[in-house]
């Protein structure tokens, strides 16, 4: 459903990605692991069309990821929340709905916010909400247009256990509905709970790829260390 082919990314003299090949199939959730600076964020940003690869390409259902039709199929959540602090959660979602051309936006936004447990605070400025609550709103924003592909960078940031459960349930439901997801996280337990496959990035390359079934935190840790040392 989404594939990176020979993706290399340079920032001046710094090489962030060195020819990454990776595919996330429909109905699958892939957990992307790696040390700080391994290239996870860059990989996700290129997939979301926010960054141009120096070499290689990314295709979403066969369409280059930088095409607007491809971006419409992606729900992206980066390190930050992408929310305007002076607007309310509902206003932020309605703004996103206009950009994505979402039909019946108000009802859908309110339903998502209610499901995320922030319905009561839907009309308060985002600036007044805690980081965890803002993250829940950011999740709603990423899911608003019912994307086929989720690209989430550290999505568990700031979430309390209920929030982690909510996000995990959302990702599982997405995969069950035939969607694809690529999640980057340092929260191994939360990530493993939803992943079908684990991919480890090290120094800009895919250093290891395994099925998630049967892996526990210790096995992941060993895989991670082995890949990082290679």
């Amino acid at each position: 459903m989404i594939s990176w082919r020979g993706v290399r990314k340079e920032f001046g003299r710094t090489v962030a990605l060195r020819g990454v090949d990776l595919t996330v199939e429909a109905g699958k959730t892939v957990l992307l692991l790696g040390a700080n600076g391994a290239g996870k964020t860059t990989l996700l940003r290129i997939g979301a069309g926010l960054s141009r690869p120096t070499e290689g390409d990314v295709a979403i259902a066969g369409v280059p990821s930088r095409e607007t039709v491809a971006r419409a199929r992606v729900g992206y959540l980066g390190h930050a929340t992408h929310l305007y602090a002076s607007l309310t959660p509902l206003e932020n979602l309605l703004f996103a709905a206009r950009l994505y051309g979402v039909a019946d936006a108000t009802a859908r936004a309110i339903r998502l916010l209610d499901e995320a447990g922030v319905g009561r605070r839907a009309r308060e400025p985002v600036a007044r909400l805690s980081r965890g609550t803002q993250q829940r709103v950011a999740l709603c924003r990423a899911l608003l247009h019912e994307p086929a592909i989720l690209l989430f960078d550290e999505p568990f940031t700031g979430l309390d256990p209920d929030g982690v459960s909510l996000l995990s349930a959302r990702v599982r439901a997405h995969a069950a509905g035939g969607g694809a997801a690529l999640l980057s996280t340092h929260d191994l337990d939360a990530g493993l709970a939803v992943a079908d496959e684990v991919v480890v990035l090290a120094r800009g390359r895919v250093a290891a790829a395994r099925a998630a079934a049967g892996l526990d935190g210790r096995a992941i840790r060993a895989l991670y260390d082995e890949a990082s040392a290679a």
């Binding site: 960054s51 039709v69 930050a80 929340t81 206009r98 950009l99």
Partner: protein, 222 residues
């Protein structure tokens, strides 16, 4: 244009809520005007000579603060990434930001320009009405270049310093034409000369808008 209007609406909504940009432009612009008035204490003839420059210096300096703040709001919470991830053309994002910045500047100028004319004893309805096309065209040119340079500068830690250094040299032609056109109106020197400067302003506006629309994509992507 759907995306551009959505952005304009969001920018206005945000400004109504936070009141960060227009008051900044207004207060700083008024301070510039008052300080210059005390510094020069001009006679009637001197007022006609220096008021056009004062108007556009106030707009330039105060406007830079407004443009910088507007771009900074898109950097908070990486809101700009949210826009870039959306399925809309990059040029639409630029057009939306440009329209919003023009609106902020023009609202502030509705107060600032009459204030300058009053302080320099040049106030007259005829002057105000006749100045409108010059103010609008000059503001569009300034905002057209300012919107893209503010976006470039917003990624830098030196954003407040970087923006005027990048922007002012580029918009010198707009300010020269705007000052000349404003002077012609204030001194009531004739429509024929005014039109030639207005045409020059319109051409610069068009050039800046087209060039910025094409370049915006490369400015906002890594």
């Amino acid at each position: 244009m759907r995306a551009a209007w959505a952005i304009v609406r969001r920018e206005l909504q945000g400004e109504l809520r936070s009141r960060e940009i227009i008051p900044t432009i207004l207060v700083f612009g008024a301070l510039v005007v008052v300080v210059m008035n005390f510094a020069f204490e001009p006679s009637r003839e001197e007022s006609e000579r220096i008021a056009p420059g004062v108007i556009w210096i106030a707009i330039a300096f105060a406007g830079i603060l407004g443009l910088s703040r507007s771009a900074a709001l898109d950097e908070e919470n990486a809101a700009l990434d949210g826009l870039l991830a959306a399925p809309v053309e990059r040029s639409s994002l630029y057009h939306g930001k440009l329209l919003a910045n023009c609106a902020f500047l023009l609202v502030a100028e509705v107060v600032l320009v009459p204030l300058i004319l009053v302080l320099y004893n040049l106030a007259a309805w005829r002057t105000l009405v006749a100045l409108a096309p010059t103010i609008v065209l000059g503001t569009i040119g300034f905002a057209a270049a300012g919107t893209i340079f503010a976006t470039i500068a917003a990624n830098s830690k030196l954003r407040e310093v970087l923006l005027p250094i990048l922007l002012l040299p580029v918009v010198i032609p707009v300010f020269l034409a705007a000052v000349e056109a404003t002077g012609i109106v204030i001194r009531n020197e004739g429509v024929r000369y005014l039109y030639s400067w207005l045409r020059i302003l319109a051409v610069f506006d068009l050039v800046y808008i087209v060039a910025s629309s094409l370049l915006f994509e490369f400015v906002v992507e890594d």
